[in-house]
C-alpha cells in the first residue's frame, strides 16, 4: 500500500472511518493519556498539564516549557479541540 503525498482526492477513505477509534478514545478517561510536547519533547499526562480557564476556553500548557498543548472551547452547539501543540497522544488500551 502506498500513502499519497499530502491530502488529495486519492485518499481511500474520509473521516467517517475515524469515528470508531475516536469514540473509543474519548470514551476513555483522557486525563491519563500521555501527550508529547511539540515544543520541548517532554511527555506529560494530561492530568498534569497546567490548565488556564475555564473561560473563554480551557488552555492546557506543558508543565516543562509552558507551551500550549491542548485547547478546548465549548460553544453553544460545538466542541472545538486543538491538539496542535502535541506530536502524539498516547492512551492506555486493553491488550490484544
Amino acid at each position: 500500500m502506498t500513502i499519497p503525498d499530502g491530502p488529495g482526492p486519492t485518499a481511500a477513505y474520509d473521516g467517517n472511518l475515524m469515528a470508531g477509534p475516536l469514540s473509543e478514545l474519548f470514551a476513555l478517561d483522557v486525563t491519563v493519556a500521555v501527550v508529547r510536547c511539540r515544543g520541548c519533547g517532554a511527555d506529560a499526562e494530561v492530568a498534569t498539564l497546567r490548565v488556564y480557564g475555564p473561560e473563554p476556553g480551557l488552555v492546557g500548557r506543558c508543565p516543562g516549557c509552558d507551551d500550549v498543548l491542548v485547547r478546548v472551547v465549548r460553544t453553544p452547539d460545538a466542541v472545538w479541540l486543538d491538539l496542535g501543540g502535541v506530536t502524539s497522544l498516547q492512551v492506555p488500551a486493553p491488550k490484544r
Partner: protein, 199 residues
C-alpha cells in the same frame, strides 16, 4: 395643558442602554487568562509594528512614555458576559502609533508577550477607537490586567484587547488569532452579540 418637560430635555444614557445584549454588570474586574501572567520589565519592553513589506517600527518603554497620552473613560464588555462601565485608562492612541506607518494592510494581528494573538480589522484600531494602555484607574496597569501595557479596543469584546501587548502585525489578508481559531467570532461586536462563529 400639561407638559412632560423631561422628555424635551433628553436624559443621560442610562445603565440599561449601555449594556449590550446578554451582558450583566459587574463592579469587579475579573481576571481571565490563557496563560501565566507575563512579568515584563520596562527595560526589556519593546513595542513593535510590522508592515506587510517587513518594515518594522519599534518603541522602547521610554519612547512609548514620551508619546502624547490620553485618558479615556469607556465601558468594557467581556465575551463571558460581564460588562464594566466607566473604566478609566491612560495610554497612547493607535492613531499616534500608526501615524507614520505606511501600509496598504486592511487587517492587524496583535501579538502579546506569552504568545497570545488576536486579529482585528485595521480600521477598528484607528479614528480614536483603540489605545495601547499602560494606566488604569489612575495607577500603573497591573500585570494581571495586562501591564505593563495592553491593547484597549472597548467597542469589541474584551478578548480583542490583548494583555501584555508586544507587537502589531499589519496584514493584507485576515487571519484568525488565538481564540478566533477555536470557535470565537472573527470580529466580536458586543452589540450584535458576536460571541461565536456564525453569530
Amino acid at each position: 395643558m400639561d407638559f412632560v418637560t423631561r422628555g424635551f430635555q433628553g436624559r443621560p444614557r442610562g445603565r440599561d442602554d449601555r449594556l449590550p445584549p446578554g451582558q450583566y454588570l459587574t463592579g469587579d474586574f475579573p481576571v481571565l487568562s490563557a496563560g501565566p501572567t507575563s512579568n515584563v520589565d520596562h527595560d526589556e519592553f519593546e513595542l513593535w509594528v510590522a508592515t506587510e513589506d517587513g518594515t518594522r517600527h519599534t518603541w522602547s518603554w521610554a519612547e512609548l512614555m514620551a508619546l502624547p497620552a490620553e485618558t479615556v473613560t469607556v465601558d468594557i464588555h467581556c465575551v463571558t458576559s460581564w460588562s464594566k462601565l466607566d473604566t478609566e485608562w491612560r495610554g497612547v492612541s493607535l492613531d499616534t502609533l500608526l501615524a507614520d506607518v505606511e501600509t496598504a494592510a486592511d487587517f492587524a494581528m496583535v501579538h502579546s508577550y506569552g504568545g497570545y494573538t488576536t486579529n482585528l480589522p485595521l480600521e477598528d484600531l484607528l479614528d480614536g477607537q483603540a489605545w495601547v494602555a499602560y494606566g488604569y484607574d489612575g495607577d500603573d496597569l497591573r500585570p494581571e490586567h495586562g501591564g505593563p501595557a495592553r491593547l484597549l479596543v472597548p467597542h469589541l469584546y474584551f478578548w480583542k484587547s490583548a494583555k501584555w501587548v508586544r507587537g502589531i502585525e499589519l496584514m493584507l489578508e485576515d487571519s484568525p488569532g488565538f481564540w478566533e481559531q477555536l470557535g470565537y467570532h472573527d470580529y466580536g461586536d458586543p452589540w450584535r452579540e458576536q460571541r461565536y462563529q456564525g453569530d
